[in-house]
């Protein structure tokens, strides 16, 4: 079931939580709402669910599920599944009763027979691999298991759309990884339309077909994870999607200077701020004709696919972060306190007045 939001805005008292928003989510899509806290992402999700109502004035918004206008439909009749960050399981009911709840509260004429309910609940419990815990109480389960129960419970009523509010936010990193993969698989298997909220960019990029980046009640960009990462529309999106190194300085005659640092850039004269991802910083023993950026290594973290190196210099307000291949790391014999030269492979620049972001690639 596709979801279409038209002109959805929300005020809490006098503060604007959402500016008028339009959003189309296709059938079968898994969409992540990504943003820092206070960006309005949870509010938007709750409006889709019907747990909050959008502003009626100045212009009433509209929410469509497929062709069905659900703007004024109560949450219980919207046919949604909602998964809460803190599971919101019914603590006095067994796992089985929790999952069966949505089926047992159906009006009598739509309610499946008790045998069918039983079969369906066990099928769902099997899907979330918890059939052996059917008689336990939620308090006897781990966080990850509880969240799986909560997912099974939401799916039991066969909702048109599945909405998840920071579903993995309360779990530890390892469990979060597992559940993410598992949700992705489940989504591919059952092919429901789902929207989830997260503040974790990695989670959003890994899980979503498309990501909606939000800040201050506004949608900043809607794109596939790939496009979003490769060509962010503005500075906020760029900074939010990963670690960023800043280089501030004055450009004159095509050279940006900042203290004893120099970089050849193809930009008009004036104050500039360039942004670089950690993997866009190359380290070498020598400066080059194009760049002279002396740095000192202050910290090294060799864990993972790449070595993370922290760099400091007099001309830097905030330390830089660079990721280096293990081979290069060994070849340069990096150690703390060592002085090296940074070479940007590529940099980004977002000027308020500039419509299009400018990127300059450089042979590294």
């Amino acid at each position: 079931m596709s979801i279409r939001l038209q002109n959805i805005a929300k005020h809490f008292a006098k503060t604007q939580a959402l500016e008028p928003i339009n959003l189309d989510i296709h059938e079968g899509e898994l969409v992540g709402l990504l943003g820092p806290s206070g960006s309005g992402k949870t509010t938007l999700l709750r409006i889709i669910a019907g747990l909050e109502t959008a502003d009626r004035s100045p212009q009433p918004g509209k929410i469509l599920f497929g062709d069905r206008d659900v703007t004024n439909v109560h949450v219980r009749d919207r046919r949604i599944g909602f998964v809460f960050q803190h599971y919101a399981l019914f603590r006095h009911m067994s796992v089985y009763d929790n999952v069966a709840f949505g089926l047992t509260v159906m009006p009598r004429k739509r309610r499946p027979s008790s045998g069918e309910i039983r079969a369906r609940v066990f099928r769902l419990l099997e899907m979330v691999q918890l059939q052996h815990l059917a008689n336990r109480l939620p308090a006897q389960l781990s966080g990850g298991q509880q969240q799986r129960v909560s997912l099974a419970r939401a799916l039991a009523v066969e909702p048109d759309v599945l909405l998840l509010d920071e579903p993995f936010g309360a779990l530890d990193a390892k469990v979060r990884q597992d559940l993410r993969r598992w949700l992705r698989r489940l989504h591919e298997e059952l092919n429901f339309t789902s929207v989830f909220v997260t503040h974790d960019q990695e989670e959003a990029l890994e899980l979503s077909d498309r990501v909606v980046v939000m800040s201050n009640g506004r949608i900043e960009q809607i794109d596939t994870p790939e496009t979003l990462y490769r060509s962010p529309k503005n500075r906020f999106v760029f900074e939010f999607l990963g670690d960023v190194n800043h280089l501030e300085g004055k450009v004159s005659n095509g050279i940006l200077t900042c203290g004893d640092a120099r970089l050849n850039v193809d930009l008009p004269d004036g104050d500039e701020e360039l942004l670089l991802r950690p993997h866009e910083v190359r380290l070498a023993q020598q400066p080059s004709a194009e760049s002279h950026l002396p740095v000192t290594i202050t910290a090294i973290s060799p864990v993972g696919a790449e070595v993370r190196v922290e760099l400091e210099a007099d001309w830097l307000a905030k330390p830089w972060l660079a990721t280096v291949r293990h081979a290069d790391f060994e070849q340069l014999e990096m150690r703390r306190g060592q002085r090296l030269f940074a070479h940007p492979r590529q940099w980004h620049r977002f000027k308020e007045e500039a419509e299009k972001p400018k990127q300059q690639a450089r042979a590294a």
Binding site: L51, R76, H86, A88, F101, M106
Partner: protein, 284 residues
């Protein structure tokens, strides 16, 4: 010797001051609670069982049990309903004056019960504000058991509100939202999701309110009218005996109230303990 050493090391406490604080607590409980109760039983020792039985089953006293228990039961049930509602309003909604209403809940605890009694009596007497409105309609509140129940309800409402309130605060709104998102109507969500969480606290609060009402004196006697066999409460019977210098008789009746109250409190505690264990997964 070595056994002693083991015992000592085994019971080493990190938190200091156990001996002193426990000692003072026991002393305090003994002086304030146990000593008067012992005194009560001391008075009883002067009676034979036959005499004791005769006192506590005397017609006028038995009538007072009926009045007290009946009125206390009505008061407790009324408080169960309205106390739950008040707690719900105080926890789930934001409105101007919420803090004030919350503070008002404790007023029956703070107000001298006699003040409450006199106020209620003047308000509901035939010439009072409420009484002059109600009596033409045929409702007589003052000097009937309705007045007694009203006074009891007034003094015991905080028990229900203050026991239900924290449990309700502990129950996140998400739980009702989850129930609604699964298609439950408000009624079903309340009955199947919210009530199972609340009713242990509600029963406890109502039980406490009931026990409190059994012993209430000051708030009731002014509005009760105190007609023998009609509107005399048990606490008044004790008072009457005392005025006649019949200490043994007073103690006998008091012991009945004491036993009933203690038994109820014990039952509530045991039952609540069981429920809490279940809710926390039968482990803790």
């Amino acid at each position: 010797m070595s056994q002693l050493a083991i015992w000592r090391s085994g019971s080493a406490r990190v938190l200091p001051g156990f001996g002193l604080s426990m000692g003072i607590s026991v002393l305090f409980i003994s002086l304030v609670l146990l000593l008067p109760i012992t005194g009560l039983f001391g008075q009883l020792a002067g009676l034979s069982f036959a005499e004791y039985w005769a006192i506590i089953t005397e017609g006028r006293v038995v009538a007072s049990y009926m009045v007290t228990i009946g009125a206390a039961a009505v008061a407790a049930l009324v408080n169960a309903v309205f106390g739950l509602l008040l707690a719900w309003v105080l926890v789930r909604y934001e409105f101007p004056g919420k803090r004030l209403l919350d503070a008002l809940m404790d007023l029956p605890f703070a107000l001298p019960t006699a003040v409450a009694g006199i106020t209620l009596a003047t308000l509901y007497a035939g010439s009072g504000w409420m009484g002059s409105l109600l009596e033409p309609l045929g409702f007589q509140v003052a000097y009937t058991w309705v007045g007694i129940a009203l006074a009891m309800a007034f003094t015991s409402i905080p028990f229900v509100v203050r026991t239900v309130q924290p449990v309700l605060e502990d129950l996140p709104a998400e739980v009702d939202e989850a129930a609604m998102s699964l298609g439950a109507t408000d009624g079903v969500a309340f009955r199947r999701v919210i009530m199972p969480h609340l009713w242990p606290a509600l029963v406890t609060g109502t039980g406490l309110a009931f026990v409190r009402s059994l012993g209430e004196f000051g708030a009731i006697i002014f509005i009760a009218g105190n007609m023998p066999y009609e509107t005399e409460i048990t606490a008044l019977m004790i008072f009457v005996k005392l005025q006649e210098y019949d200490y043994a008789g007073a103690s006998a009746i008091a012991s009945v109230v004491l036993f009933v109250s203690l038994a109820l409190l014990l039952a509530i505690n045991i039952w609540q303990g069981r429920f809490v264990r279940r809710l926390h997964g039968g482990k803790g």
